[in-house]
């Protein structure tokens, strides 16, 4: 055992020396990397660690942070009913809009891919336009207005489906479904572009080999040929869709307000903003951020292990 560790240590030391020598030879590389790395560490990596550190403290910006141990986490998970509600809402939204939006992105990209070139160009623009037009969400607040001036209410009344207007964005019963619809509408984002581009790059000779090997229809072809060769793009798309679906806040806040009636559209990020920018309880807000971050990483690991099994 001791010998083993000694050998391991010698090997490690050797490896390290080799790496150091190599690094000295490639000084140029580090110089190229330096500007980006500096900014990236300061504004992306450092904040994450600061956030984790602050989550164990009481911090209100004015006074220096005071260490309080796990208090923030205990009160967050045990006492804060609104946070539990926010977690529930976020998970309901994420579990539905995440996978559905992801599958939608892929499905549309796949269908678009079969079209002639110029129609494909128009289709890509049409499907991607909602995510380009970020600020336009407020028109859904007008479409779904609670009185008879709201367009959706007006149509439903005209069609005879309902006879009194529905308070879409005020009645907790309807808030989440409406939000889901709007989120799905704007969910064809970066992942979608990646899929469209990736599908164009799938080797056509693979498909031809598929005909010879007796692939009968487009669904078989999708499962056995297209999906496995799209794996890297699928991974990228998954990362993007997890990020957006757990970070949901903009749309729910724009539609239902912050705070929403009965906190029915309160999400984790809304809670974070509530404590961070309204109440200045930065320590508490950082605990929320840390938990959200953990959930996102775990979810990402889970999805990646699922995608690895694809087509086998």
């Amino acid at each position: 055992m001791k010998e083993y560790f000694q050998k391991l240590f010698i090997m490690r030391k050797h490896n390290f020396q080799v790496a150091l020598k190599q690094a000295r030879k490639m000084k140029m590389c580090y110089l190229f990397l330096l500007p980006f790395a500096l900014i990236f560490f300061t504004f992306t990596i450092l904040p994450v660690f600061t956030s984790i550190f602050l989550s164990f403290t009481y911090y209100n910006v004015l006074e220096p942070p005071r260490f309080t141990g796990l208090t923030n986490y205990f009160s967050l998970l045990l006492d804060d009913e609104i946070f539990i509600k926010a977690v529930k809402n976020t998970f309901v939204l994420a579990i539905i809009t995440g996978p559905v939006g992801y599958i939608m992105s892929f499905l549309f990209a796949w269908l678009i891919n079969e079209l002639p070139r110029w129609i494909r160009t128009i289709a890509v623009i049409v499907f991607y336009a909602p995510s380009l037009a970020g600020n336009v969400v407020f028109i859904f607040a007008i479409l779904f207005r609670g009185d008879v001036y709201g367009y959706v209410n007006q149509w439903l009344i005209e069609l005879g489906i309902i006879d009194t207007p529905i308070l879409w964005l005020i009645n907790p019963q309807y808030m989440l479904p409406v939000c889901m619809g709007v989120i799905l509408w704007s969910s064809l984002g970066t992942g979608f572009l990646s899929f469209v581009a990736g599908l164009q790059g799938v080797d056509p000779s693979l498909h031809e080999a598929g005909y010879v090997d007796g692939i009968k229809n487009r669904w078989q072809e999708l499962y056995y040929i297209t999906l496995p060769s799209m794996r890297p793009m699928l991974m990228f798309g998954a990362v993007m869709s997890i990020t957006t679906s757990f970070g949901v806040h903009d749309i729910t806040a724009a539609l239902c307000g912050n705070p929403s009636t009965d906190y029915a559209a309160h999400t984790i990020v809304t809670h974070l903003i509530d404590y961070g920018s309204t109440r200045y309880e930065m320590g508490y807000a950082s605990a929320v951020a840390t938990l959200l971050f953990l959930v996102m990483i775990l979810c990402n690991k889970f999805v990646q292990s699922l995608l690895r099994r694809l087509g086998t």
Partner: protein, 302 residues
């Protein structure tokens, strides 16, 4: 008899009009039909809210609050847009200043991001050096960071660096955005290594290779990074890190018009949303073929 007929049959099949010929042997025509109907329907749903926003922005005041509400404008007019400019003219920070702020932020932020990110992407993609792979893995994890999650510590850090309430508070973090580096690096990996080897044999240094060989060859990636950065910076309301009114962005100013007096300025709110969405959409339409070329290499390999 058999040979002649067979030849005839083949000819008849070939004479079918182009759209009836099957592109791929394992596609059913019924499936094609239903899927294209489905796709058209979905496209209409996707585009309807945008069309609604555009048509509403053209509605004169009496049509905005008409009962029952109408989807399309009856007498389209540009009143809302001209009203918007009148309102903008009345703010104490002049309208051109807001435009300047946004254009300045977007331009400098995007330019810097391209330079900084492509320098890093170049060495990460083309050289194998200790720490490079680990760094890139960190960047891919950082793709998941939501802006809100890091907002609080970011404010604290910027405060320490004295960047609060300067343009740099928006510009510098934009330089180090992980998505740009990620896309750049994946795209550069597709560049043939022989290109760089040849330059090395000719005696070019790394800097020369980067400037004269790599950069001109990754123009599609630039455009993609440009569209994502412009999109992020253009819509940046920047309310937390900038509080001087004269440094605020166009999107902040435009949103402020509608937030104070939501009902009376409904028409202007539509006009605002059109102004804000037209620029990213326009850039996207112009550069979409290059963007797709870049996104083809966006895959996340494990």
């Amino acid at each position: 008899m058999s040979k002649k007929e067979k030849v005839k049959k083949v000819k008849v099949y070939k004479k079918k009009p182009k759209f009836l010929r099957r592109r791929k042997p394992n596609r059913s025509r019924g499936g094609d039909f239903f899927l294209s109907i489905f796709l058209t329907l979905m496209a209409l749903i996707m585009v309807a809210p945008l069309v609604f926003a555009i048509s509403s922005s053209l509605k004169p005041l009496d049509e905005l609050f008409i009962f029952p509400p109408k989807f399309f404008a009856k007498n389209p007019s540009m009143d809302n847009f001209s009203d918007l400019f009148v309102t903008m003219g009345k703010s104490w920070v002049t309208f051109p200043r807001y435009v300047f702020n946004t254009v300045f932020l977007t331009f400098v932020g995007t330019l810097g991001h391209i330079i900084v990110a492509s320098m890093a992407a170049f060495v990460l993609a083309k050289y194998d050096f200790p720490g490079g792979k680990g760094f890139f893995r960190l960047v891919t994890v950082a793709l998941m960071f939501n802006g809100y999650v890091t907002a609080i510590p970011n404010y604290v850090i910027m405060n320490k660096l004295g960047m609060i309430d300067t343009y740099w508070a928006i510009i510098i973090p934009a330089f180090g955005a992980p998505l740009g580096l990620f896309l750049m690096k994946q795209f550069m990996e597709g560049l043939p290594g022989a290109l760089i080897e040849a330059a090395k044999i000719d005696g070019a240094k790394e800097w020369g290779i980067f400037l004269h060989i790599v950069m001109p060859n990754v123009k599609p990636a630039w455009l993609t990074v440009i569209i994502f950065t412009v999109q992020a910076l253009w819509n940046n309301g920047a309310t937390t890190v900038i509080y001087s009114e004269e440094k605020k962005t166009l999107s902040f100013a435009l949103r402020q018009i509608t937030s104070g007096n939501a009902i009376a300025r409904t028409g202007q709110a539509y006009a605002v949303s059109i102004v804000l969405m037209i620029v990213p959409i326009f850039i996207f339409i112009l550069s979409q073929s290059q963007i797709l070329e870049t996104m083809a290499s966006s895959g996340l390999k494990d």
